[in-house]
Homo-oligomer: 292 residues x 2
């Protein structure tokens, strides 16, 4: 038996994804709040970053001693025409540069779904592959690992047509078979995955896929919970402990497979957006200790 | 180039799943409506069957010349205690008997999700395996193939913890490795799968899984469409052609892999439940010709 106190010790340091309190606070307020609550990492979305400016955000995050566990997000590669696809690639290059300025551990890629009025899923997936291939060298050059985040299959049409960890790893194997890093050595691969408990918890192939990914491709770990019932496909994610995901076991599997990074809390929830920001952060720190 | 007229010819005969018009009609009304609209198959849910009585329903369906493409549904095996699991197995035996009385081509299994207050997904999946194992001999004895229906991963917690076709086929291989039928020969296997376009369309492993299933395990094919946006996890399914699923291509793949049965239309939709039943049936016949 593992002592109870040890079981309840969180496995990884904690990071705040700005989506969790995006309706309550600016990025500057979030940075200060993280420091206030003893949260040592932050993962900004680009809308919040744009408010503050990348250089100012980078300086403020540094001065508060926070680690940028990821920048959300690049991706959204599929488009109905070549111009749209080029614009997406340009936007991803800018996101990579911003991630470099921030010293982010990775750029999260939410790869995109079907172009408007399209049913061509195989075509969309090919556009994703081509899009990542087009920006990978730049990411490698500036030292920003790209983290493909498989999203839950319910987002396949409109947000992300990479829907399992194995499918993401197939892309990694195809585009970066040698697990290259920016420099020789054992750091993160230039192309890897972000594992979000909400998106992958149901997958019967998950354990094998985590082993397959291994330490150099496990670039980020996001936590929240799956509520029963779930009343909205996008904005009804749960606080850790309020749903059915075995978060402690999943976090342990991440570490067992070599992940050494943060537990990043990303909760898109109308309910939690209506709660005072400090209460949200206090709650997620407690729940992280209890459930992750 | 395939001539346009041929491209638009539906690949399989049509069946009405009673969920599609469950708010408008009784089973007796649906049977008459199918005959009226030239729909040659029907797949009753058990709530509708109970209204009419199994014997009367069987006689009425026969007298109207309809094929029962499936009975919906058995399954729901996981439960918090042994008594609950025994009750589920008893209920599945009754469903198998009813399917036999109806001469149904299969009993659809929606296997169930997590027991109340449980996070033990592996445990739930083991209960599903044990439950199917407990009723398979009875199903074989009375000649009712069991069709495991993998449900979309968004139903993993509350309805069905079998979420991909491959996962369902793993269970088939485990419980019925020889693809036994009730009699020697090339008929349907005693344990197979129901493929519902709504649940599987996103799966990057779908094509390979259909090949793996083959003719003796492809027991049923359900169609509707995935709407963008989808506003409800359960009751916002689309009429064929209103969403993003490549239904014609998927139907072709079913046939290419040996499926010779009906296209069963199952649409759980508050919108379509508010429409006159005859209009729904007329629409789905047209859409089946155009899109399936």
């Amino acid at each position: 038996m593992v002592p109870d106190a040890l079981q309840r010790r969180p496995l990884g340091p904690l990071s705040l994804n700005t989506a969790t309190v995006r309706e309550q606070w600016s990025l500057a307020q979030m940075i200060e709040a993280c420091a206030r609550h003893g949260i040592s990492g932050i993962a900004p979305w680009r809308d919040k970053l744009d408010e503050l400016g990348v250089e100012r955000a980078a300086a403020m995050i540094r001065s508060h001693g926070l680690t940028v566990t990821g920048l959300c997000r690049g991706g959204m590669f599929p488009a109905a025409d070549a111009e749209g696809r080029r614009a997406a690639i340009d936007d991803n290059r800018r996101a990579i540069d911003d991630a470099a300025t921030l010293g982010a551990r990775c750029l999260i890629l939410v790869v995109g779904g079907l172009p408007v009025a399209s049913r061509d899923l195989a075509g969309a997936r090919a556009m994703v592959r081509d899009g990542i291939a087009a920006v990978l060298d730049h990411a490698r050059a500036v030292g920003v690992p790209l983290a493909i985040e498989p999203l839950h299959p319910m987002y396949c049409a409109d947000r992300c047509c990479i829907n399992t960890l194995d499918q993401a790893l197939d892309l990694c194997d195809e585009l970066d078979p040698v697990r290259s890093a920016d420099q020789a050595g054992g750091g993160p691969a230039a192309l890897g995955v972000a594992v979000d408990a909400y998106h992958v918890w149901w997958d019967p192939g998950l354990d094998a896929a985590l082993r397959r990914a291994g330490p150099r491709r496990l670039l980020a770990y996001h936590v929240c919970d799956w509520l029963v019932p779930t009343t909205d496909l996008l904005l009804d994610r749960g606080m850790m402990g309020d749903g059915v995901i075995e978060l402690r076991a999943l976090g342990q599997k991440m570490r067992d497979n070599g992940y050494q990074g943060f537990d990043e809390v990303e909760i898109l929830s109308r309910r939690w957006w209506s709660v005072d920001g400090d209460t949200v952060l206090q709650t997620l720190c407690e729940r992280h200790r209890q459930h992750c």
